[in-house]
Amino acid sequence: MTITNARTAAPSSGDRAGKRRRYRGIDQLGGLDRLVIILMVVVPTLLLIWLVWFPAVGSVILSFTNWDGIGPLSSIKFIGLKNYVDVVTIYPPFWPAVQHNLIWLAVYFLVATPLGIFFAVLLDREIRGTRIYQTAIYLPVVLSLALVGFIWQLIYSKDQGLINGLTGSTIDWYGDPRFNLWAALVAATWKQTGYVMLLYLAGLKGVDPSLREAAKVDGANERQTFFRVVFPVMAPINIIVLVITVIESLRAFDLVWVINKGRNGLELIATLVTQNVVGEASRIGFGSALATFMLIISTVLIAVYLRIVMREQR
């Protein structure tokens, strides 16, 4: 009875409230079912709150305190913005780290992402062997960034590396602060390009082919078709790729950590946080201030990302 009633009532109201009413028929739950659903939501949510959201809030709160990590939690004193002031003014690696993060972002944004998109556009057309080319370019995506660091060591090593073997130079590509950031970036770009290509290829497959044909009939060449027709309709994918570019460059940690634990030219905000927690000197409040910087930047981006994704959902 309830099912049929709800169903016949539905079409009259097309808004979201109407949609809910329409399904109430099979959504009416008994006691056991209700319990099951509550458990299905609560268990994963609690895990997430415990290990993600609570720590995120914790980082922000700790950043306003002077906790040294040794005394009990009750000994914590709030010291306002002092940690932030210290980070910005008297912590030597901070500004280099910011600079390196920005360079990392710039290289991902200006090299890896356009290159990945370029390869995707080339490989999306009917060409002989496109699958083989795709496979070659996204092979590095399955390797961890830590492993990427080790693999490139064979190319960069001072005494045994390929570059120095071929050119006869004696540059320590991973060790010399003038070069090591760029060396790491080449290796990271090698992986990131494949990732972007993969995402973009999937997006291109979703573009309505009749759009391209219409453009072709109107006399557009391939470049015009891409920039004036395909690229604009891919707006959601473009923004997702953009957000992933920024987030991945914030997360660039594994690679520099395996090279030299993020010192001597390879400082990143992420490595500074880690050094302040697991290193010899554990400065909790200080490290938390650094962590909060990362949180703020990523939260803004996540908000953008979620807006787009959620809009797509409706």
Binding site: Y133, P140, I151, W257, T274, G287
Partner: protein, 302 residues
């Protein structure tokens, strides 16, 4: 140039072969071949040198040919204790992937099946968690794990720090968001009438979940499982900071054992790298379709 697009069919091999070879096409092929070789080169270089004797390459230089041996693999296996670390990786990865898939299926099912008012919010909370930089959460997680006492039968370190369970929990927490998002999109495409007839037949929520939804989600689950095995196997940061005793390190973070303090045998490192990469490379070549599907399901709706 445009003859084949007239059919409206893309990605057909026959259309491509029928096309005349123009200078542009040849140029494109040459360009792509060069790019592909360039991209494959670092991996190939590591593989080739992993089979070479260090003494030989030291004498003749790396730009030479010869000195092939399997000894690096034997040494790497022993020196980095790969037997144990690979087992550790399995102990961490398998439960973590299963738990991730199960918990995210639960969330996705509720979000997709019931139109609760907050399901978008819920999904947002989960997806955002996947994108936060883990380093930003390190301090509280590290401190919590260190202070949480657990029985010794659960973890021989007495706390969640330096325990497989702690690492598994963190991995699950971070990966659930992405999987929940992908699965909920997938589950929304399942026809609602199916649930209606299930309800009419008297099936409760549990039976609907286990006997209807999960079996129908098999393709998505397979794709995500492939992707998550790769990601959690590759996970480096949490393993490095949360595991402290050498005998518990998973394989990715044990590679450092192959690097000496003052001297590094790169051929040995290469052999170790190939061994570490092997499981993911097998996944890549055998389950490529699943891997790509998993990655792209998240970014597009299809």
């Amino acid at each position: 140039m445009s003859t084949s697009t007239m059919t409206g069919k893309r990605t057909t091999a026959t259309a491509a072969t029928r096309r005349p070879l123009t200078a542009g096409r040849v140029g494109l092929q040459v360009f792509l071949i060069v790019v592909s070789l360039l991209w494959l080169f670092p991996v190939l270089w590591a593989v080739i040198n992993s089979f070479r004797d260090y003494a030989y390459t030291a004498q003749h230089g790396y730009v030479s040919f010869g000195g092939f041996t399997l000894q690096n693999y034997v040494n790497a296996w022993q020196q980095a204790d790969f037997g144990r670390t690979l087992l550790n990786s399995a102990i961490i990865t398998i439960p973590a992937v299963l738990l991730t898939l199960f918990l995210s299926s639960c969330i996705a099912f509720v979000v997709a099946r019931f139109s609760f008012r907050f399901n978008l919010v819920l999904l947002g909370v989960f997806t955002a968690a996947n994108l936060l930089p883990p380093q930003a959460l390190l301090i509280p997680v590290y401190r919590m794990f260190r202070s949480i006492q657990v029985p010794f039968w659960f973890s021989d370190s007495g706390t969640l720090l330096n325990s497989f369970w702690g690492l598994i929990a963190v991995n699950v927490a971070f990966q659930t968001g992405f999987c929940a998002f992908v699965l909920s999109n997938y589950m929304k495409t399942l026809p609602r009438e199916m649930y209606e007839s299930a309800v009419v037949d008297g099936a409760g929520v549990l039976r609907q979940f286990f006997q209807l939804t999960l079996p129908l989600c098999r393709p998505a689950l397979a794709a995500l499982a492939t992707l998550e095995v790769t990601w959690i196997y590759n996970e480096f940061f949490w393993a490095t900071v949360l595991i402290q005793s050498g005998e518990k390190f998973p394989v990715t973070s044990s590679l450092n054992n192959l690097r000496g303090e003052f001297f590094t045998d790169n051929n040995l490192v290469a052999a170790g790298s190939v061994l570490v990469a092997l499981p993911t490379l097998i996944i890549f070549f055998v389950l490529q379709r699943q891997f790509v599907a998993g990655l792209t399901l998240g970014s597009t709706k299809g």
